[in-house]
């Protein structure tokens, strides 16, 4: 089966399920993807009428992590009733993280899982075919193509995952082999591109604080200017605040207008925390993340 036939079967099932749950009153709204104006492109949409279910699609251009519409960007959602939401594996892991942090209640949600063979790395040309060249970097090392614990998952057989080279793992290994000074200059080069648009913060499901530490100016912990000190501090603080929480949806990296490899930091931290505390984002709700809990046996070899 090709990607297109898989995704058209998935889209068909999503439309049927969304129509059903909207008309029988299970949910008051469904957050999903609809076709956008350009050929092949997709955009997030909230539908509240059963008839609108026909607008829903799924394709390799459905890159967005819709979980963010349940927390920060929830203004368009009805306040009452359950909400249906279309989630890929990585999106579901982020959503499960939000459940663990008590930002969402499972009973308020109806999860439509998507069996996923990957999405496009860039939607600048949304009509291209999904192949080893155009697939997103996160999908190259994805272990969770089949969402688990969703209320509805279309019955679609996924073909065996092709073995693609893992770009994040390779890049982390390359950087780790450098000297600290070389790594510093690499990251300075990357951070110096930052224009502090905060798109990475805006799109991240986990950046749900009402007031961000980095916006406060009494005391000012992180300089707000798009200048070297503020940029470096912002990216360090961002990576630190996402450590042990990030589910790897890589939305931050996708939306970055300056192409800063933000997910590289997130992946590195996820790997370190898995190694140190045996905890990683998954489909099971973790009551406490790795940095919100502790064990007597934690490593303290670095402490005198």
């Amino acid at each position: 089966m090709t990607t297109e036939t898989i995704y058209s079967a998935v889209a068909e099932a999503i439309r049927a399920e969304a129509g059903r749950i909207l008309s029988d009153g299970t949910v008051t709204a469904v957050v999903g993807y609809a076709a956008a104006r350009r050929k092949g492109s997709a955009q997030p949409v909230v539908i509240t009428k059963p008839d609108d279910a026909a607008r829903l699609i799924f394709s390799a251009a459905c890159v967005n992590n819709l979980a963010v519409y349940l927390t920060k960007a929830k203004k368009e959602l009805p306040r009452e009733g359950r909400i249906g939401i279309v989630v890929k594996g990585c999106d579901l892991k982020a959503l499960v993280g939000l459940l663990g942090e008590s930002q969402l209640k499972r009973a308020d949600l109806y999860l439509i899982g998507v069996p996923c063979v990957g999405v496009l790395g860039s939607t600048l040309q949304p009509a291209v075919e999904l192949d080893a060249e155009t697939i997103a970097d996160k999908c190259r090392e994805c272990d969770d193509r089949m969402p688990q614990g969703a209320d509805f998952v279309p019955l679609v057989e996924l073909p065996e995952q092709p073995a693609l080279d893992k770009k994040y793992a390779a890049e982390i290994a390359r950087l780790e082999a450098l000297t600290p000074a070389e790594r510093w200059s690499y990251w300075q080069e990357q951070f110096s591109k930052c224009i502090k648009c905060y798109a990475c913060r805006q799109v991240c499901p986990f950046c749900f604080c009402e007031q961000c530490l980095c916006d406060r100016n009494k005391p000012q912990m992180v300089e707000g200017t798009p200048r070297p000190a503020g940029n470096t501090a912002w990216h360090i603080v961002r990576a630190m605040h996402l450590a042990g929480r990030c589910a790897g949806c890589a939305e931050c990296e996708r939306v970055c207008p300056m192409d800063i490899p933000l997910n590289l930091l997130n992946r590195k931290m996820a790997r370190e925390l898995k190694e140190l505390f045996h905890s990683e984002a998954g489909f099971e709700v973790r009551e406490k993340g790795p940095l919100a809990t502790f064990a007597d046996s934690d490593d303290e070899s670095f402490i005198k």
Binding site: L175, E176, P180, A181, E182, R183, W184, S185, Y186, W187, L213, M221, V222, E223, T225, R227, P228, A229, G230, T232, A233, I236, V237, A239, M240, A243, G244, L265, K268, M269, E272, L273, L276, F277, P290, L291, A292, T293, F294, D296, D298, D299, E300, F302, I303, K304
Partner: protein
Amino acid sequence: MHVDKPKHSFEPKIIAFVCTWCTYAGADLAGTSRMQYPANVRVVKFPCTGRIDPVFILKAFQQGADGVLVSGCHPGDCHYMAGNFHARRRFAAFRKLLEFIGVDLQRLQFSWVSAAEAGKWVEVVTDLTEQVRALGPMHEFKDLALAEQWSGKLDAPELQEVYEAI
């Protein structure tokens, strides 16, 4: 009582973030016991190591610290039961992040010093001071903070000369 101290060409600035219940009391004991330790360390007192946010460390480096010491109660002795356990995990992760960003971890020291361990405080501070002295000034974050007000590096030799003269 006067002890002759060796003169060094470089005196590092060390910022110590300490918890008030153990390490601060330990440092106090070192003082009242008249133990000698390098005056390079500037102590900032916190209620608990659990209160010490990684951004404090960044801020210290940006504002001119050459080394940072974070010190609190031994595991199990925390005044708030679990503050130091949480801190231990957080700093284990933060170290890894700083290492990946390219910061030399020899400038960042963590320790457990109890209220009775004046000797250990002296030892930790002396060791870190000598370690950082050997490494020389920490310029990475300072350069960034300078560039925040300045339009970039001082690459013209005459500007550099004027700057050095200030």
